[in-house]
């Protein structure tokens, strides 16, 4: 039996996940109150999460002459109406001030000769995003009232009578289990990748768009604690450079490259220009035999090559290496594109925790911000900052004077579970082999790449059955050390997310967004489903809750 050391901590605010939203929230609390903040981060806040490699632009910005309403209208249309306008507007109002804050911290933003930010289209501004995370992390480290615990993988929330009291987890670099209690908890663990078989399932299986280390932990913890979730069926499928899975915005919006098929026909206008329609068009063109599909960079002037190579070095260096290895610059060849495997990510689509306008979840004292929070698609980096700020300010208002309450039972049972995994031996299955099995099931039966993202109800039933079997097997896994135990928990988290995702896909009996929920039994949009599909896990089963579109400017949980 492997015994773990234990560590019990009390703090005012616990932030789970030191990424974009988590770091910004910590900074906000430190600057607006005297509360002590603890960040629990599974890796190291310097480069953890979505911002690791850098980002190419501020995707959500209110450019000169536009308004937050303009932004909300755009995001609403792109999501075919299934959004929370209160969330979109409250985030959009902070896009610019949070950007200005980052600039103060050292982020480089492109300016014209009059000192004005240079916009890219109607909603973006151009930056050098290579070091955006180290800049943020440095500011966080400088705050006296923030403690950072790196390499601490949180597995569960401590919740009693629907009130969040803290969280438990273990260090991946030593044999210590942690129980942390706080007045309020902010969950900021990002979205979920690795649910479906990826584009490159072999050696480069982690060469995916979304960080393979964001495994949906925050969703899973909330689901298991009975938090309400929304819109998981609005999966996100990204259109990316083939193989490197590098972002395409820099060539599509940046130099205006059009989507063309192998015959050279521009097809994007044929299928529509929303995010999901752009993916759909590409899938359809391939199905019709018109593939491969490309972004036509071969028509750009070669004077742009060097800046494109540099721009990619600042966010996706693999694409620059690919151009150089091929011996041809962007202006000399088109960039082949493909859809990725589906992700659950609230920064792009609307999946995640169901929150009130202040980003408090349906569990009291538990807040959610960034990709883990639902209802507010296309919020991206600045939206994660904005939600971190909104949640932080509400925590100060509502919970600064709350009592810290302990509840040891959760930790004791978790400690037992950790030690059992570390002490066990399983010669048949590993986290890795079960992950592959899960990805295959989701790919084949729940609308992965191999079926062109489409599914029917019979397939979903099978997927559900097979995921249940894998959940049973995952309960029997063992691990050599605490680091490998993290892989066991990552798998379990993903399986929980898969279960809920399947339930959501089944509940929305229509096709509201091509590819994102391409339901072959119900291929059309049905006005009866103009509303949210939400869910709650209670007594071992997932209950689906249909909710009407929120009209209020401020939304508060009612039941």
């Amino acid at each position: 039996m492997t015994r773990l050391k234990t560590q019990k901590l009390m703090t005012d605010v616990l932030i789970v996940g030191g990424g974009t939203a988590g770091c910004y929230a910590a900074l906000t609390i430190a600057r607006h109150s005297k509360l002590k903040v603890t960040i629990a981060e599974k890796a190291n806040i310097k480069r953890s999460g979505c911002l690791a490699a850098g980002v190419n632009a501020i995707n959500a910005y209110i450019v000169d002459g536009k308004t937050p309403d303009f932004y909300a209208d755009y995001a609403t249309k792109d999501a075919n109406g299934i959004v929370r306008r209160d969330l979109l507007l409250s985030a959009a109002k902070l896009f610019n001030s949070t950007t200005a804050e980052l600039e103060k911290l050292g982020l480089v933003i492109l300016k014209d000769e009059n000192g004005k930010y240079v916009s890219r289209g109607n909603r973006n501004i151009k930056i050098n995003g290579e070091n955006i995370k180290p800049i943020l992390a440095k500011a966080v480290k400088a705050e006296e009232n923030i403690s950072i615990i790196n390499n601490l993988n949180i597995t569960d929330l401590i919740v009693k009578n629907n009130r969040a009291l803290g969280a438990v987890g273990f260090k991946t670099d030593e044999n210590t289990a942690y129980e942390i209690y706080a007045k309020a908890v902010l969950i900021a663990t990002g979205g979920a990748s690795g649910l479906y078989k990826p584009n490159n399932p072999g050696f480069s299986r982690h060469k995916m768009w979304y960080p393979p280390f964001n495994t949906g932990a925050g969703y899973a913890m909330g689901i298991r604690s009975g938090a309400e979730m929304t819109s998981f069926e609005m999966r996100f499928i990204a259109l990316r450079c083939k193989d490197t899975i590098a972002p395409t915005g820099t060539i599509a919006q940046g130099v205006g490259a059009k989507q063309v098929n192998s015959k050279g026909d521009v097809y994007e206008t044929k299928y529509g220009l929303t995010t999901s329609e752009r993916v759909y068009g590409t899938v359809e063109e391939n199905r019709l035999g018109n593939g491969p599909c490309y972004l036509r960079t071969s028509v750009i002037d070669k004077s742009k090559d060097n800046d494109l190579l540099k721009a990619y070095l600042n966010m996706a260096p693999s694409q620059t290496l690919k151009w150089i290895e091929s011996g041809k610059n962007p202006s000399e060849q088109d960039v082949e594109i493909s859809g990725t495997e589906p992700y659950i990510v609230g920064g792009h689509t609307a999946s995640g925790y169901w929150v009130n306008t202040n980003r408090e979840t349906t569990i009291n004292g538990l807040y959610a911000a960034g990709d883990v929070a639902g209802g507010c698609p296309q919020k991206y980096v600045t939206g994660a900052f904005a939600e971190g700020e909104i949640a932080a300010l509400d925590i100060i208002r509502k919970y600064a004077d709350a009592e810290i309450e302990t509840y040891e039972e959760v930790f004791e049972s978790k400690l037992g579970e950790y030690e059992k995994i570390l002490g066990g031996s399983n010669e048949k299955f590993t986290a890795q082999s079960l992950e592959e099995a899960m990805q295959k099931v989701m790919d084949e039966y729940a609308g992965g790449i191999s079926t062109g993202y489409s599914f029917n109800e019979k397939q979903l039933d099978l997927a559900d059955e097979k995921i249940d079997k894998l959940i049973t097997l995952a309960d029997q896994l063992s691990a050599e050390d605490t680091y490998e135990m993290m892989y066991v928990y990552e798998l379990r988290e993903r399986l929980v997310v898969c279960k809920v995702l399947i339930a959501h896909l089944r509940a929305r009996k229509e096709t509201r967004w091509h590819t994102f929920n391409e339901n072959l039994d119900y291929p059309d949009t049905d006005p009866n489903y103009f509303g949210y599909v939400n869910s709650k896990y209670e007594n071992g089963k997932i209950d689906i809750i249909f909710r009407d579109i929120v009209q209020e400017a401020e939304y508060e949980h009612k039941n």
Binding site: A52, V108, K126, T172, R205, H206
Partner: protein, 104 residues
Amino acid sequence: MSIRIDKQKCVGCFQCTAVCPGSLIRKSDTGKAYIKYPENCWGCVSCVKECRFGAIDFFLGADIGGVGSTMNVSYEGDIIHWNIHKYDGTQITIDVNSKDSNQY
């Protein structure tokens, strides 16, 4: 997608170990860094940028079209030199000024 670490150049500072968002890099018995789970590498190149000794090379796996070129970085003030050693023996360096914004 992966990286390789040159044992000769590695001085054992373990900055790469600290920074990897997947915590994939470990300390070997001989005090050098090695990637324990190469197939779990995201290819974010955080470790490549963190290593001030040019000991970490980044390359593309054959399954995504890689043919053997590698890339690492060196620094000079605000300039990041991205040194690309092509599979055919030639070398290309692209300089990026970290004070300059992307143009696109």
